[in-house]
């Protein structure tokens, strides 16, 4: 098959540590090729294209509509970055790729790839693709993504119907059933005040009392000696620091607007001490410090009935997955019991406010191989733009009009066809079917805008998820939500050392924070070690130089 060749020899291989070259997903490597029906072949790759290669009737509708032949390959989520890096290193990209672009890798990936000419920019005039343009208009911090005024890809919107949401879904779920059980066990105890709070909103004191009550009763509740009270997915530890810190990652600013080390800022140190106390009190799992960054350990414990409170990134799909797995593993027996086993826990910190890390309103980016022709790029944009229209969205969500659904021409009401929207006779749930239009729509949006009416949506889960979002949104409007944010001018700033060292130092600092909480090092050593991390100080100096501080 394809022989990968290096575009820029040594400088490219130096970009990333990945050296293996494979042809996997390489497609035509940009060249215009046509299928037997003279349709332009588009090789598209995306992490969400799991179990889909482009062969389905709905993709065929798009193929016919736009004179293209869509071929799809996916990335394995666990090696997504590596697979993109391999293709970049080999200059062996599919026509469209998806990259997990973050602020911390912006300079070392996107900006460099643009510099080396590996990516094809969007056209300056996007008026031919009004739906994409409309979406781009709402993308947060989009100007930082432009190089010389050009945008090299499409940031994938979290929710095009709710672009103003700027807080993440990184939060807690807890065993509400256990909290209620504790109260039930103590109902005859004189002077007992319930630990469970109706509505799941807890003040800092109430939260700490709940944790203590869990600790006291964890063996009874879990039926095992090996259960923990609080578990964070490793990347999120120590989550309780959120209620103190004012920056989510490596850098923050002091009161003079000068960049400083976020991991040694006084607020973060207070948060670390709070976490250290929870470790000392055996509230945090003793295993927490051994878990791997890629995650899964804390969730495994929670699903195993061996944890009372879990911190994770509860996007709707993650929350749904938790509920599905909880249902399968814990067998709660009823929807109410499932809800009680996976309830959102809403905590107000010592300052009386909820605290959640911020997020951009997009996640990852669809980028284009520099070798593709203008025609091919335009075809890809045509498809994406269509899928963002009402008609295209219906194709992605309901299927083909006439076969899958009918629509009232006056009211617009959609009625699903029973023969094509069949339910599993045993579960009563709609059976899955492959709709390439839905997959392709993920090239521009995560699809949260359609969840409310997507027939596959578990509405019970969705309503719970949505209620949490609405509550946090209301709290934000009322000034009761503190969103922890890294200043955008630092986040998206590119400096030599920052580009090179930020991710490594982020990981290293988190490791040191874990060491500190678990007692391996004292605070002075922690501070010295963090500030002494290779390139950390240099990066801050470079940032301040650019900030003029």
């Amino acid at each position: 098959m394809k022989k990968a060749k290096l575009l820029c020899g040594a400088c490219l291989t130096a970009l990333m540590s990945v050296t293996a070259l494979t042809a996997c997903g390489g497609g035509s490597n940009g060249a215009d090729k046509y299928d037997k029906n003279n349709r332009l072949i588009l090789n598209l790759r995306n992490v969400y294209f799991d179990q889909w290669n482009g062969e389905d009737n709905y993709t065929e509708i798009l193929n016919e509509m736009f004179g293209v032949k869509i071929k799809a390959t996916n990335y394995s989520y666990s090696s997504w970055d590596t697979q993109v890096g391999t293709a970049i290193n080999g200059d062996n990209l599919t026509d469209a790729i998806q990259y997990n672009l973050k602020a911390y890798n912006f300079g070392s990936s996107y900006e460099k790839w643009v510099g080396y000419g590996l990516l094809k920019p969007l056209p300056d005039d996007m008026s031919r693709w009004p739906e994409i343009q409309k979406m781009l208009n709402n993308i947060s911090n989009i100007d930082y993504l432009k190089v010389d005024g050009k945008l090299y890809g499409i940031p994938i919107a979290n929710d095009i119907s709710n672009p103003t949401k700027d807080f993440s879904n990184m939060t807690y779920v807890y065993r509400r059933d256990w909290a209620k059980q504790i109260d039930e066990m103590n109902k005859n105890t004189a002077g007992w005040t319930n630990v469970y709070k109706e509505g799941d909103v807890y003040t800092w004191e109430e939260f700490n009392r709940l944790l203590t009550a869990f600790k006291t009763n964890i063996k009874t509740l879990s039926g095992t000696d090996k259960a923990d009270v609080l578990v964070d997915e490793a990347w999120g530890f120590p989550s309780v620091a959120n209620f103190y810190k004012n920056a989510p990652h490596c850098y923050t600013k002091d009161s003079d607007g000068k960049a400083i080390n976020a991991f040694t800022a006084p607020e973060y140190l207070n948060g670390l001490d709070a976490a250290k106390e929870l470790v000392a009190n055996k509230i945090y799992s003793p295993d927490q410090c051994n878990w791997k960054e890629e995650g899964g350990d804390a969730t495994t414990n929670y699903l195993g009935g061996k944890a009372a409170v879990l911190y994770d990134n509860f996007s709707f799909s993650n929350y749904l997955k938790l509920r599905t797995n909880f249902k399968n593993q814990r067998k709660p027996g009823s929807v109410d019991a499932l809800n009680d086993g996976t309830a959102f826990l809403k905590i107000k910190g010592p300052d009386g406010k909820f605290a959640i890390e911020n997020t951009e309103n997009w996640f990852s980016m669809t980028m284009f191989n520099h070798k593709i022709s203008d025609t091919k790029l335009e075809k890809i944009l045509d498809v994406i733009n269509y899928l963002l229209t009402d008609e295209g969205t219906r194709l992605a969500i309901y299927g083909q009009e006439g076969y899958d659904y009918t629509m009232d021409s006056v009211t617009g009401e959609v009625t699903l066809n029973e023969m094509s929207w069949e339910k599993n006779i045993n579960t009563g749930e709609y059976a899955p079917k492959t709709n390439g239009a839905k997959y392709l729509r993920y090239m521009a949006t995560l699809g949260n805008d359609t969840k409310a009416y997507d027939p596959y949506t578990d509405l019970t889960a969705y309503n719970i998820f949505n209620a949490w979002n609405d509550e946090m949104k209301a709290a934000k409007e009322a000034g009761d939500l503190r969103i922890i944010v890294e200043p955008a001018d630092i986040s998206w700033m590119s400096t030599a050392t920052k580009n090179k060292r930020t991710k490594a130092n982020l990981d290293a600092a988190k490791g040191l924070a874990s060491d500190y909480c678990y007692g391996d090092i004292n605070q002075t050593k922690y501070i010295n070690d963090v500030e002494g991390l290779n390139g950390y100080k240099d990066a801050i100096d470079e940032i301040n130089a650019k900030l003029g501080k």
């Binding site: 179990q51 290669n53 062969e55 990335y75 599993n424 579960t427 059976a431 899955p432």
Partner: protein, 514 residues
């Protein structure tokens, strides 16, 4: 619900003839009446059908089989009465004492086999049943040995072109045919779905290409011939999806050496419901057939087209590799429709996926497993009673398997062309040696349609017509739990029989009891 109309009469109706001009599956154009269907000699598209069957592979965990569940499985298989099956296993179950010499020469590696284990016992049990019941078997190995994350035999780079693969294959087939005396293995499957390469780290097949696979086929052919196993043919493809199948069929048919190394054109079809519902599967099959035939005139003559895995894609849950619609009546109706469309398009045998949920498992990262729910039932006592029950599509398959016997003639009808009528299809069947005849009528309309049927070809007339109706309301099961006729009428399919076929229903008329 609507109570369905039964057989009405043996009337000769000619008052409302709607004649159209259409082509049947063999390309013969003729005038045909949409409502008064008469199958004639000219409609024969297959003159020696090879039979229907179901995948019955080696059980991945034979320990889960109890004596009673095995006995029940055999009883269920007896009634299904298949004539072809596909039996797949893993070589890893047998390879032992592997000595990689850690040099570049793969031919000097050595290993032994442990055939005295539960996997081989189960394999032999399955194959002996097939021997005893005259079932032709496509036998094969899912993939080259080695764990996905480990590749301990260093075979993932060369995949089936690795010379050790051919040697292992010949060793194992020799053991089965010579040592065990198994006679039913007619085909070897040179790895499952070779065109589905997947991703490194997730698939053993990530490096595969047609060229690699073809080299593997040639190596295996040579090794089998050297062991005196020339009677075992190699499946030509075993690919999945029309695109991948076209690639492999083109590669095979264009190369004399490759096409002579294979024994058929074999592929898998997992079809979306929409394609079935609109009658487009037959069109797609004919497309592949026609292209391949251009390069290989022996397609359909000495190298037959076979579907080695047949199923419906909609309803697939990728996490559990199960089908959420497998217990729905509609699955049976669509699989019957699938069968009709494929055989009238020239496919000479079909193996359904699959027999028993208890054969295969999904292994999850958290250590849990689930049985793959894509069978006709589950033999696992640990599965729920609902899953252990015979599913509707078992019953529809029993009817077809017992009607479309080996050596049958299959007759397509011109109005099956979806451009003429994409919601009603029928085919005629003349049994082997003209011993019986039958008609399969599938109505995919929501409403009933009334048609008359007649077979104008010769067959031994029983003067009885057994009528079977497959839909949720009218499927008849006997006291033994197996399908039985709805009605027996004193009549002949040589005469014109009028029936009203309810919406979304298959009706089978047969001169013999199925």
């Amino acid at each position: 619900m609507n109570k369905t109309n039964k057989i009405l009469s043996l009337a000769l109706l000619s008052s409302c003839i709607v004649a159209v001009s259409g082509c049947n599956g063999n390309g013969n154009k003729r005038e045909a009446d949409k409502d008064n269907i008469v199958f004639i000699k000219d409609d024969i598209v297959l003159d020696s059908f090879e039979g229907l069957g179901v995948e019955w592979g080696t059980y991945e965990d034979p320990d889960k089989l109890s004596a009673s569940s095995w006995a029940r499985s055999l009883e269920i298989m007896d009634r299904l009465n298949p004539q072809v099956t596909r039996c797949m296993l893993n070589y890893d179950w047998f390879i032992t004492n592997f000595d990689d010499k850690y040099d570049d020469d793969k031919t000097n590696d050595t290993w032994e086999y442990n055939f005295a284990n539960k996997y081989m016992n189960n394999t032999v049990n399955v194959l002996r049943y097939c021997d005893d019941h005259n079932i032709d078997v496509a036998f094969g190995c899912w993939n080259v040995p080695g764990n996905v994350g480990a590749d301990q035999y260093n075979m993932f780079t060369e995949v089936t072109s690795d010379p050790r693969w051919a040697r292992m294959t010949a060793d194992i087939l020799e053991y089965l045919t010579v040592n065990q005396g198994i006679r039913c293995i007619k085909y070897f499957v040179n790895s499952n779905e070779p065109n589905y390469s997947g991703i490194e780290g997730k698939s053993k097949n990530y490096n595969n290409t047609f060229e690699i696979w073809a080299k593997g086929v040639q190596n295996v052919r040579k090794a089998l011939d050297e062991r005196g196993l020339g009677h075992i043919k190699i499946v030509g493809g075993d690919t999945t999806g029309f695109e991948g199948t076209e690639e492999y069929f083109t590669g095979i048919s264009k190369s004399k050496s490759i096409r002579e190394a294979v024994g058929d054109y074999g592929f898998h079809v997992y079809c979306p419901n929409m394609t079935i519902d609109r009658g487009e599967l037959a069109v797609n099959i004919r497309g592949v057939y026609k292209k391949t035939k251009k390069n290989d005139s022996q397609l359909g003559v000495t190298r037959m087209p076979h579907i080695w895995e047949a199923g419906l894609y909609d309803g697939k849950n990728a996490e559990t590799d199960s089908n959420a619609l497998i217990a729905n009546f509609s699955y049976g109706l669509r699989m019957a429709d699938y069968t009709l469309q494929c055989v009238t398009a020239g496919v000479n045998s079909i193996v359904y996926w699959d027999f028993d949920d208890g054969m295969h498992f999904m292994y999850h990262e958290d250590g849990t497993t689930n049985s793959k729910g894509w069978g006709m039932f589950s033999s696992l006592s640990t599965d729920s009673a609902t899953k252990q029950r015979l599913r509707p599509w078992y019953h529809s398959s029993v009817l077809l398997t017992n009607l479309l016997r080996k050596g049958s003639k299959i007759m397509d009808y011109p109005t099956n062309d979806p451009e003429i009528d994409n919601a009603f299809r029928s085919m005629g069947v003349i049994g082997p040696g003209s011993s019986y005849a039958g008609v399969v009528a599938i109505n995919r309309n929501m409403m009933p349609v009334t048609k008359t049927f007649r077979i104008a070809e010769e067959f031994i007339n029983s003067n009885k017509v057994y009528v079977y109706i497959y839909n949720e309301n009218e499927l008849q099961l006997g006291d033994d739990g197996f399908v039985k006729e709805n009605q027996v009428i004193d009549a002949s399919l040589r005469d014109q029989i009028e029936i009203s076929v309810p919406g979304n229903t298959m009706v089978i008329l047969s001169s013999k009891e199925l």
